[in-house]
Amino acid sequence: MLRIENLYKEFGNIKAVNNISFEVKRGQVFGLLGPNGAGKSTAISMISTLIEPTKGDIFFEGKSILKDSKPIRQRLGVVPQDIALYPTLTGYENLSFWGSVNGLKGQELKNRILEVSDIIGLNGRLNDRVDKYSGGMKRRLNIGAALLHKPELLIMDEPTVGIDPQSRNHILDTVLELNKQGMTIIYTSHYMEEVEYLCNELCIMDEGNIIASGTQQELVDLVKEKTQINLKLDKNDEEVINHLMEIKGVYEAKINENVINLFGSSTDVLLADIIAKVTENGWMIETIDVKKPNLESVFLHLTGKALRD
């Protein structure tokens, strides 16, 4: 549906986006994960035709949007990172305006406003001014404004920034529901859990580059040797460490505040071997904690820094 080819964007000497390429297939929830300043919003701005790339091209249904941006604009919905609404107008007036700029009018517009207000859970508050809304309600209206014309491709740029957990959950469920109805979604976030929860496929961005891409499993597999097991035994000494290092697949063991940290390549095999070794030596397990690799670990593994650094 959407193909990004060797996209660059420079602002003076700053390379905001540096040669990124990826493809979004119809029906996917495609994630762009990365810390603030990674270049996600710049990439989104280029895809949504707001800014022009320095180099590269973007193809929507096989056609370059740089040559003709009209086809994508008619079929695209964008939820910007900032709340882009008129605070002194009511929720209804806002939806009415954003629907009309996207080509809706008359009864069709009215019907869609009611449908969308139902989706975003604001049907009882549409006649209130937006500046009277809570942060979560504004976020939901911000999403609603992008849904009115039933876009085929919905781009959501960090749509849950700064809101309460309840509104956040509502938004995440809405995204999944929209995707279930057939909408293709590009979702950018620096919240690893959101991307893990929503996305089938994703790119991890840092400093303008795509540092990894694929399905979640493919990305996690990049760091599977980093499986970590934290073990608290009734005995913690060098002898224990030496015995544990004999287990196949364990390549590092160390004691950290009375807890033994084991690093290995495969959780399932390791866990059985560890329990066997402990039993064999007559030690007692007080606690055991397995840390599976996730996207946070992937990012840490690839960049040496945490996602929210």
């Binding site: 800014i51 022009e52 008619q74 695209l76 964008v78 910007p80 002194t88 305006f97 700029v101």
Partner: protein, 392 residues
């Protein structure tokens, strides 16, 4: 574009106070300043050293001119007040004035002043006119008395002469020997200057500019609330967005100018001259130029707060340069006059004032309207370019 127009009209709900405030300010200032200009009378001290029949006759004649306030004073008081700037000028009727009038000699009068200005020139013309009239009447009286005495030798020459003089002078009061009807092509401050009219036009232009500039400045509100970017990526074209915004700002400005023109006519009693079509044409071109000026300013700044700081500076300074606050005829500096040519206000003032004050017709509106349209196109092009430059 219709959706953008509808939005802008909807948002006027938040800005109606500016509209009402600026309209009220224009009317208020017109009433205050217009009245001040109209009733202003320069004070002129008269120092009568001759203290004769003729000098008193001159003073009596001068007092019939209502554009000045004449006060008799002694020479010392006159010199002191003029030097201190309390009074702008004085008229010195030197000793021997009567003799010179009677004998047809050069008349001894002096003007006491610190600087030359147009008001002094006007006074000189008035005094010169009266003394010439007195000299002429005196000559007629001489000839008449001599003629009667030659026909009737026992008659009293002085009595006849005095009576003839009074009759001639008196006859000027009631009928002019020649009635001149003139059309003034170029209006100066002395000829055809109407303070109330000038104020009305000047303040109408000045205050309505704020509504126009802040009207198009709503784009900055959009930028600030990120709705501008959202609009730019919608299927509505940039022409549609800019066009819709311009149309509403234009309509708002036009409505305000219309209200001010009608209020001027019906509340303050302004006569807008012989060509309302000409006034409207200049106004239409002026609104386009100023709305485009607002668009250009919007293209170079980022927030409404910045516009709030910059607009008063730009609008007030260009209005001063363009002659909204005072007539350009009193400005002598060539650089200022050159700069005035570059302001929309100058051309709008020229166009409307030529029709409303100087009695000119529709033709007076053509050149100013053309210049304003060219200015508008230039401002619009620069503004649209700077707003569009960062987008696809």
């Amino acid at each position: 574009m219709l959706s953008v127009i509808k939005l802008r009209l909807l948002r006027l709900r938040d800005e109606w106070m500016i509209f009402v405030f600026m309209t009220a300010m224009a009317l208020g200032f017109t009433a205050i300043f217009g009245a001040s200009f109209t009733t202003y009378k320069p004070t002129v001290y008269i120092v009568d050293e001759d203290k004769s029949y003729y000098s008193q006759a001159l003073i009596s004649e001068l007092n019939t001119y209502k554009d000045f306030k004449f006060k008799e004073a002694d020479i010392k008081a006159a010199e002191k007040d003029i030097e201190e700037g309390n009074v702008s000028m004085g008229l010195l009727i030197k000793e021997g004035f009567q003799r010179n009038v009677e004998e047809g000699l050069s008349i001894s009068l002096g003007i006491m002043k610190i600087k030359d200005d147009t008001v002094i020139l006007t006074l000189q013309e008035i005094v010169s006119g009266i003394t010439m009239k007195m000299a002429g009447a005196n000559r007629i009286a001489d000839v008449t008395a001599a003629f009667i005495q030659s026909a009737k030798p026992d008659s009293d020459f002085e009595k006849i002469r005095s009576s003839s003089y009074d009759n001639v002078m008196d006859s000027w009061k009631y009928k002019n020997p020649i009635f001149v009807k003139a059309t003034v092509a170029e209006s100066g401050i002395q000829a055809g200057y109407d303070g109330l009219m000038h104020s009305m036009i000047g303040f109408t232009l000045f205050f309505s500019m704020y509504t126009m500039v802040f009207g198009i400045g709503t784009i900055l509100y959009d930028k600030q609330h990120k709705t501008w970017e959202r609009m730019l990526i919608s299927p509505v074209s940039r022409t549609g967005i800019l066009g819709g915004s311009m149309i509403v700002a234009y309509i708002t400005g036009a409505v305000q100018m219309g209200v001010l023109i009608l209020s001027g006519k019906y509340l303050i009693g302004i006569d807008w001259g012989n060509s309302m079509a000409g006034v409207l044409l200049v106004s239409a071109a002026f609104i386009f130029a100023v709305t485009s000026l607002g668009l250009m300013m919007t293209g170079f700044i980022k927030t409404q707060a910045q516009l709030g700081s910059i607009a008063p500076i730009v609008l007030t300074s260009t209005s001063m340069l363009g002659g909204c606050m005072w007539p350009l005829e009193i400005v002598n500096n060539k650089a200022l006059l050159l700069l005035a040519e570059l302001t929309p206000q100058k051309w709008a003032m020229q166009g409307i004032e030529s029709i409303a004050s100087s009695g000119m017709g529709f033709e007076a509106a053509i050149l100013p309207s053309m210049v304003l349209t060219v200015m508008g196109i230039t401002f619009f092009t620069i503004g649209a370019f700077s707003l569009n430059k960062q987008s696809i």
